[in-house]
C-alpha cells in the first residue's frame, strides 16, 4: 500500500490532537508514516502507533528549537526522499502551513491549505475547504507532484487503529539556509487549564458587549461549567480585555466545535470566518438585529449580564 507522510505536531513528546486526526485521514489514502522532530520526538511513537502509524521517523537536533521553520523543512524533505510517499499531510497551524508550502515548492508539488476533509479518489486525494468566510465549500486536488495538504483541527475523529509504529532514525543534513532566522528568545504561553481553543468541543466567546476585562469572569464561569474553551472577538482583544491567542476569526483562530456560544458579539464577517462551521451556534445579544442571529440555532435577545450568569447556574444545577 502507498505510504502517506504525516508531520507530527507535539510538545516535548506529547502529541497534539490535530495530528491524531491527520492519522485518521491519512489511513483513507494509504499507510501512515509519521515524522516527529525535536526534543521528545521518540516519545511520540506509542501514541502514534495506537492511532495507525506504521512507522515513526524521528530526529532531534538543536536546530529545531534555535532556528525558524527551515530546519523542519529540511527534515521533512529528507523524509519525503526516503519514503517517496503518495501524499504529505501537515497540521494547519501557522508554522505547519509554512513548512508544507516550502516543502511543496522544493519537491515540485502543489499545496492545499486548511482542508476540512479529505477523501481518496482515482486522481489522488480530494480536499474539502471552506472559503470566503465559510460561505462556499470547494473540492480541490493537486495536479502535479505528491499532494502536500494541511488540515485544520477538528476535521476528523480521532480513532484507535493499532499499528506497528516502528521507530526509525531519520537521517537529516541541514541546508546552509537552515540557520538563517535565529530564535533568540522564547516565552511560553501560560496555560489556562482550559481546553485548547481549536480543539475544544465547546467554545464560549465574549465580544465588545462584555464591556471590560474583569467582566470576562462571567464568560469564563460559563465556559468552566461546560468544560469549554474561552474565545474572544477582535474588538475584545483590541480593547485589551482578553489575549490575542484567544481571538476567534479571520486573523485569529478558526474553530469548528460542536457548540459555539457567542455573547456580546455582533457577528461581523471576519468573526464569522472563524466560527461559521461550528455544528451548533448559540448567541446572546441585546440587539435583535445583530447579524450573529442569522447563524444561530438558538438565540436569546437580552442582556448578557442577566442571561449568561443564569445559564451558568442552570448548567451547574443540571450537572449536579
Amino acid at each position: 500500500m502507498a505510504e502517506v507522510l504525516v508531520y507530527v505536531d507535539h510538545v516535548d513528546g506529547a502529541v497534539r490532537k490535530p495530528t491524531l486526526e491527520l492519522l485518521t485521514l491519512a489511513r483513507r489514502i494509504g499507510e501512515p508514516v509519521a515524522v516527529a522532530l525535536g526534543a521528545g520526538a521518540a516519545d511520540t511513537a506509542a501514541t502514534l502507533a495506537e492511532h495507525g502509524a506504521a512507522r515513526v521517523l524521528t530526529h532531534d537536533a538543536a536546530e529545531y528549537a534555535d532556528y525558524l521553520v527551515v530546519p523542519k523543512v529540511d527534515a521533512l524533505q529528507a523524509a519525503y526522499e526516503a519514503v517517496s510517499p503518495a501524499a504529505v499531510l501537515v497540521p494547519s497551524s501557522a508554522e505547519g502551513k509554512e513548512i508544507a508550502a516550502r516543502l511543496a515548492l522544493r519537491i515540485g508539488s502543489g499545496i492545499i491549505t486548511d482542508a476540512v476533509d479529505l477523501e481518496a479518489s482515482d486522481e489522488g486525494p480530494v480536499a474539502t475547504q471552506s472559503v470566503f468566510a465559510a460561505s462556499f465549500t470547494t473540492k480541490s486536488r493537486i495536479a502535479k507532484g505528491a499532494p502536500v495538504i494541511t488540515v485544520k483541527p477538528n476535521s476528523a475523529a480521532v480513532e484507535a487503529a493499532p499499528a506497528a509504529g516502528a521507530v526509525e532514525a531519520l537521517a537529516v543534513s541541514f541546508s546552509e539556509k537552515a540557520t538563517g532566522t535565529k530564535i533568540t528568545g522564547r516565552t511560553p504561553r501560560e496555560s489556562t487549564g482550559r481546553p485548547e481553543l481549536t480543539e475544544a468541543a465547546i467554545v464560549v466567546s465574549g465580544g465588545r458587549g462584555v464591556g471590560g476585562a474583569e467582566n470576562f469572569a462571567i464568560v469564563e464561569a460559563l465556559a468552566d461549567s461546560l468544560g469549554a474553551a474561552v474565545g474572544a472577538s477582535r474588538a475584545a482583544v483590541d480593547a485589551g480585555w482578553y489575549p490575542h491567542s484567544s481571538q476567534v476569526g479571520q486573523t485569529g483562530k478558526s474553530v469548528s466545535p460542536q457548540l459555539y456560544i457567542a455573547s456580546g458579539i455582533s457577528g461581523a464577517i471576519q468573526h464569522r470566518a472563524g466560527m461559521q462551521t461550528s455544528k451548533t451556534i448559540v448567541a446572546i445579544n441585546k440587539d435583535a438585529e445583530a447579524p450573529i442571529f442569522d447563524l444561530v440555532d438558538y438565540g436569546v435577545v437580552g442582556d448578557l449580564f442577566d442571561v449568561v450568569p443564569q445559564l451558568t447556574e442552570e448548567v451547574k444545577a443540571r450537572k449536579g
Partner: protein
C-alpha cells in the same frame, strides 16, 4: 546606501461584499468591488515606520493583479510609499500560490531589494504561505508573522521581531536581505492624508508583463497551476433557528435547549 524595501500587496474582493466564484472556478474579481487587502495595509505601515527610522530608505509597493489592482497600489502610495510596480499579464489569470511566489520573487529580484514586507495572509485566499514561498525562492531568511518588527543598521543590517505562536512567543533575528510578514497586531495602519493622496498621483507606477520577468506562460495561470478546483458550492444558509426574547428566563430557556441537544 539606501535601504530598499519592497512591500507585496494584493488587490482583493471586498470581504463585506458578495464574494463568489467565476465559471472557471477562479475568484470572481469583476462583480465585486476590490480594494487593497486590509492585512497588507499593516505591511505598508511597518514599511513606512522602518523607513522613517532608517537614515535613507525607499519603499516600492508591488502587486500582481488585473488592471484594477492599480487602485491597491495607489492607496499604498497615498499612505506614503515612494513608487509602485504592477505585474499584469492575461496569462496570469488563475495563478496559484506556487505561481504567485514565482512571479513575486522574479519581480522583487528585478526591482532590487534589501527587505521584503508582506501581509500575514490575503483576505481572499487566506493561505498565509506566499511570504514563506518567496523567501524559499529568493534563498533569504523568512522572518514571518511578526507582531513587532524593527530593522537596525541599514541595508547590511539585521531585522528583529516578535512572533506570537500557539505555544510560545518567539524573538526572531536575521540578517538582511530577508522576507518579513506582519500581522494585524503590528500596529494600526495610517489613513492617507489629503496631501498623501495628491502626491500619490505623481508617483511612478511601472508595469511589467511575463516577458519582462522571463517567465513562460505555462509556468503560471490556470494552466500552470499545481492545484485544481473541481467544484465550489455555496454553503446552504443556516436554517433559521429559534430566537427568544429574554423576559427573565432567557438563561433557563437556553439551558433547556442545550440539554435537549445533549450538551448538558
Amino acid at each position: 546606501m539606501s535601504l530598499r524595501i519592497v512591500v507585496t500587496v494584493k488587490y482583493v474582493p471586498d470581504a463585506t461584499g458578495d464574494r463568489h466564484f467565476a465559471d472557471d472556478l477562479t475568484v470572481d474579481r469583476d462583480d465585486v468591488d476590490g480594494l487593497l487587502s486590509e492585512l497588507d495595509e499593516y505591511a505598508v505601515e511597518q514599511a513606512l515606520q522602518i523607513a522613517e527610522n532608517a537614515d535613507d530608505a525607499e519603499i516600492t509597493v508591488l502587486t500582481i493583479g488585473p488592471e484594477e489592482a492599480k487602485d491597491a497600489l495607489r492607496k499604498a502610495l497615498s499612505m506614503g510609499a515612494d513608487k509602485a510596480i504592477h505585474v499584469e499579464d492575461d496569462d496570469l489569470h488563475g495563478t496559484d500560490a506556487i505561481g504567485t511566489s514565482l512571479v513575486l520573487a522574479k519581480a522583487i529580484e528585478k526591482a532590487g531589494y534589501d527587505l521584503v514586507i508582506s501581509g500575514m495572509a490575503s483576505t481572499d485566499g487566506t493561505m498565509g504561505v506566499v511570504p514563506a514561498l518567496v523567501a524559499e525562492r529568493l534563498g533569504v531568511p523568512q522572518v514571518t508573522l511578526l507582531s513587532e518588527v524593527s530593522v537596525e543598521g541599514g541595508p547590511d543590517g539585521t531585522v528583529k521581531g516578535r512572533r506570537d505562536g500557539d505555544i510560545a512567543s518567539e524573538q526572531l533575528q536575521a540578517s538582511l536581505p530577508a522576507v518579513v510578514s506582519v500581522t494585524d497586531q503590528s500596529g494600526e495602519a495610517r489613513y492617507p492624508s489629503f496631501k498623501g493622496i495628491m502626491a500619490a498621483k505623481k508617483k511612478p507606477v511601472t508595469s511589467w508583463d511575463l516577458d519582462d520577468l522571463d517567465i513562460e506562460a505555462e509556468e503560471v495561470g490556470l494552466e500552470g497551476a499545481y492545484t485544481v478546483v473541481d467544484s465550489a458550492t455555496e454553503r446552504p444558509a443556516r436554517t433559521a433557528g429559534t430566537i427568544v426574547k429574554d423576559e427573565g428566563e432567557g438563561g433557563k430557556q437556553l439551558a433547556e435547549f442545550l440539554a435537549g441537544q445533549k450538551f448538558i
